[in-house]
C-alpha cells in the first residue's frame, strides 16, 4: 500500500462533520423515543406497585360490598366478558365479510375508496359520538333499552374497523398465484375463497380478532349510556340485562365513590390493563410467530 492509496480512503473534514451531525441526530431521536416510552413504563410500574397488593382471587371473584368501598370486581369482570363476547358475535362475521369483499371482489374505483373512507371515519369518530349513536339507534329507536345488546352493538360498530383492516391485510398477503391456480381448476370465486384463501389467512384473521377483544374491553364512553351501569347487585343473565363493566367501574371507583380505599381503584385499573395488554401481547406474539413460519 502506498501512502497515496491510504490517503484516498481517509475521511475528509466534511465526511467527519457529516458523521458527527448524523450521530447527534441519531442520539436526539433515540432519546425522544426513550422519552416517549419511559414515562409510560414508570406509570405502569406505579400502577403495579400500588394496585398489586389488592389483587387476589378474592378481589377477582367477589362482588363489591359496602357501597363499592370494599370487595371485588366480579360483576364488572363478568360484564366486560359478556359485552366483549356479544360484540364479537356481531362484528367479526360482518367485519370478515366486509374484508373479503374489499380484498377479493372490490375493484380500484371511487366506490371502494368511499368504503375505505367510511372505515377510517368509523374508527375516527369520537367514542362519545358512538355513544350518542348507540343511545339514539339501539336503545331508543330499536327499543333494546339500556342493555348488554345495545351496548355490544355500539361497541361492535365502533371496533369493526380493527377486524376489517386486520382481515384485509391477511387476505391480501395470500399470493395471487394461489387464487389463479384454483380458478384454473374451474372453481368459483367463493370456492376459491373458502378452500384456498381463508385457510391461508385464518391465523392472521385471528390476530385481528384478539386485537379487537383488547380494544373492546377497554372502551368506556360508548357503553356509559347504552348498557353499562355504575352498580347493580345482579350478575347479567341475558343480553337484555344491564351490567357493570370493568372500564366503567374504574371510572366510578376513581371519581364517584367517596371514602374508597386508595388501592381499590388501582386494583381495578391493574385488572383492566392486565386484561387489555395480555390480549394485545398475545395478538402481537401470534403475528410474529406467523411471520416466522410463513412458507411463501
Amino acid at each position: 500500500m502506498t501512502s497515496a492509496n491510504a490517503e484516498m480512503f481517509q475521511a475528509s473534514g466534511l465526511n467527519k462533520r457529516n458523521e458527527r451531525v448524523q450521530n447527534s441526530y441519531r442520539i436526539l431521536f433515540g432519546l425522544m423515543t426513550l422519552m416517549l416510552i419511559t414515562p409510560v413504563l414508570l406509570i405502569l410500574g406505579t400502577l403495579v406497585a400500588k394496585g398489586g397488593g389488592v389483587i387476589s382471587w378474592e378481589f377477582l371473584f367477589t362482588a363489591p360490598t359496602d357501597g363499592m368501598r370494599t370487595g371485588g370486581v366480579l360483576p364488572a369482570l363478568l360484564g366486560t366478558i359478556w359485552l366483549v363476547m356479544v360484540a364479537l358475535l356481531l362484528s367479526v362475521p360482518i367485519g370478515v365479510c366486509a374484508a373479503i369483499y374489499l380484498s377479493e371482489y372490490a375493484g380500484d374505483n371511487w366506490f371502494t375508496r368511499t368504503i375505505n373512507l367510511a372505515i377510517i371515519n368509523l374508527a375516527g369518530v369520537p367514542s362519545i359520538v358512538h355513544a350518542l349513536f348507540g343511545l339514539g339507534a339501539f336503545v331508543i329507536f330499536f327499543g333494546f333499552g339500556t342493555s348488554i345488546l345495545a351496548a355490544s352493538l355500539t361497541l361492535a360498530v365502533m371496533t369493526m374497523p380493527v377486524v376489517i383492516v386486520a382481515t384485509r391485510e391477511s387476505l391480501q398477503a395470500v399470493p395471487q398465484a394461489f387464487r389463479e391456480a384454483c380458478w384454473n381448476m374451474g372453481a368459483t370465486r367463493w370456492q376459491t375463497i373458502r378452500r384456498v384463501v381463508l385457510p391461508n389467512a385464518i391465523t392472521g384473521i385471528l390476530t385481528g380478532v384478539i386485537l379487537e377483544v383488547s380494544r373492546t374491553a377497554g372502551e368506556t364512553a360508548p357503553i356509559m349510556f347504552t348498557g353499562a351501569v355504575f352498580f347493580t347487585p345482579f350478575l347479567p343473565e341475558s343480553v337484555l340485562d344491564q351490567t357493570m363493566a370493568l372500564s366503567l367501574h374504574l371510572f366510578v371507583a376513581a371519581t364517584q365513590v367517596p371514602g374508597i380505599a386508595e388501592e381499590v381503584p388501582f386494583g381495578v385499573a391493574l385488572v383492566l390493563i392486565a386484561l387489555v395488554l395480555t390480549m394485545n401481547s398475545a395478538s402481537i406474539a401470534f403475528r410474529m410467530w406467523l411471520r416466522g413460519k410463513k412458507k411463501w
Partner: protein
C-alpha cells in the same frame, strides 16, 4: 372420468351457448355469497350514515327550535340545567377542547415524529422490533386508564412541582392526551416513512450521503404527505378523546388563561351530563347538537387526512 367428461350442469348435447351454461348449484352459492359479502362491504358506509342520521335525529330539534347560532358558538355561558333560563354557549367548551388538544399536539408531534424517524431510519433488527411492539402496546392502554393516571398520579405531581392549588388542568390533560396520541402518530408516521421506496435511499447512499442526509433530504420530503396525514389523524384522536379529558381537565367551564387553569372539553361535557338529562328535552338535544358538531369536525379532519395521504400515492 372414463366415459364422461361433463361437469354437473354442463350439457354437451344442448350445443351452442347453452353448452356453457354454468348455472349449477355452486354458481348460485357463489352469487349468493357475493351478494352477502357486498352487503357487509357497504356496512361501513351504512354505519357512518347511520351515526350521522341518528345523532342528527335526536339533536335536530334543538337546532331548529332553541338554538341561537350566535349565542351557541360565541358565548361562554353553559348553564344547561337552569330551570328558568338555561343557557347554551359552547365557546368555553370549545376553548377547553382546543387548548388541551393544542398542548397535546405540542407534546406529541415532535416526539412521535422523532420516534418514527428513529424506528424507521436509524434502528435496525431487534431494537426496531422491540420499539415497534412497545409503541403498539402503548397505543393499547384504554383511555379510562389514562384518565385515572391523570387523576391520581399527574395531579399530585403537578401540585407539588408547580405549587398550584389544583393539578387537574390544561397541562395535565395535555400531557396525558399527548402521550395517548403519540403512539398512534408514531406508527402512522413510521408507515409513511416505510412507504418511501428503498431505491430512493440506495440512490442517495450511493452518492455518499450519510443516513441523516438521506433521511432529511430524501425520505422526509418524499413522505411529507403521509406524515401530515398521520399528524391530522392524531389531531382527530385528541379532539375526540373523552374519558381521559373528562378525568384530567378538572371539568370546570372556563376559558383558560394559563396551562394551570381547569377547563372542560366538548366530549367530556356530553359524557358527564347525558345521564342526567330527560330524553327529548332541551338539554338532551343540546348535547346531541354538540355530538353533531364533533362528528362533522372529525369527519372533515379524517377526510382531509385521507386526501392528503392519497396525494402522494397519485403524485
Amino acid at each position: 372420468m372414463a366415459n364422461s367428461n361433463t361437469a354437473p350442469g354442463v350439457s354437451v348435447t344442448a350445443g351452442g351457448a347453452a353448452a356453457f351454461d354454468r348455472r349449477n348449484f355452486d354458481w348460485y352459492v357463489d352469487k349468493a355469497v357475493q351478494a352477502i359479502v357486498f352487503l357487509c362491504g357497504i356496512s361501513a358506509i351504512i354505519f357512518v350514515l347511520g351515526i350521522f342520521v341518528f345523532v342528527t335525529k335526536e339533536g335536530v330539534g334543538f337546532i331548529f327550535e332553541h338554538m341561537n347560532v350566535r349565542e351557541f358558538f360565541l358565548t361562554p355561558y353553559w348553564f344547561p340545567s337552569d330551570a328558568d333560563d338555561p343557557e347554551f354557549g359552547i365557546l368555553a367548551l370549545m376553548a377547553g377542547t382546543a387548548s388541551v388538544t393544542g398542548l397535546a399536539m405540542l407534546v406529541a408531534i415532535p416526539f412521535s415524529l422523532g420516534a418514527a424517524i428513529y424506528i424507521a431510519e436509524f434502528a435496525s433488527g431487534k431494537t426496531r422490533e422491540t420499539l415497534k411492539v412497545l409503541v403498539e402496546l402503548l397505543a393499547a392502554i384504554p383511555s379510562v386508564v389514562w384518565g385515572f393516571i391523570g387523576l391520581v398520579i399527574m395531579n399530585p405531581l403537578i401540585i407539588k412541582w408547580f405549587d398550584v392549588p389544583v393539578g387537574l388542568c390544561v397541562l395535565n390533560a395535555g400531557i396525558i392526551l399527548g402521550l395517548m396520541a403519540a403512539p398512534i402518530m408514531t406508527s402512522i408516521a413510521e408507515d409513511a416513512l416505510k412507504a418511501v421506496p428503498d431505491r430512493y435511499r440506495e440512490a442517495a447512499e450511493a452518492m455518499g450521503a450519510t443516513r441523516w442526509q438521506v433521511t432529511y433530504k430524501v425520505v422526509l420530503p418524499a413522505a411529507k404527505n403521509g406524515l401530515l396525514g398521520g399528524v391530522l389523524l392524531g389531531v382527530g384522536r385528541g379532539f375526540g378523546e373523552t374519558m381521559a379529558v373528562l378525568m384530567a381537565t378538572g371539568h370546570a367551564v372556563n376559558i383558560p388563561d394559563s396551562i394551570f387553569d381547569s377547563v372542560r372539553a366538548l366530549t367530556a361535557t356530553i359524557a358527564a351530563e347525558l345521564g342526567e338529562t330527560v330524553v327529548g328535552g332541551e338539554h338532551y338535544q343540546a348535547l346531541f347538537t354538540i355530538g353533531i358538531l364533533l362528528f362533522l369536525v372529525t369527519f372533515i379532519v379524517n377526510l382531509s387526512a385521507d386526501l392528503i395521504v392519497r396525494g402522494i400515492r397519485k403524485g
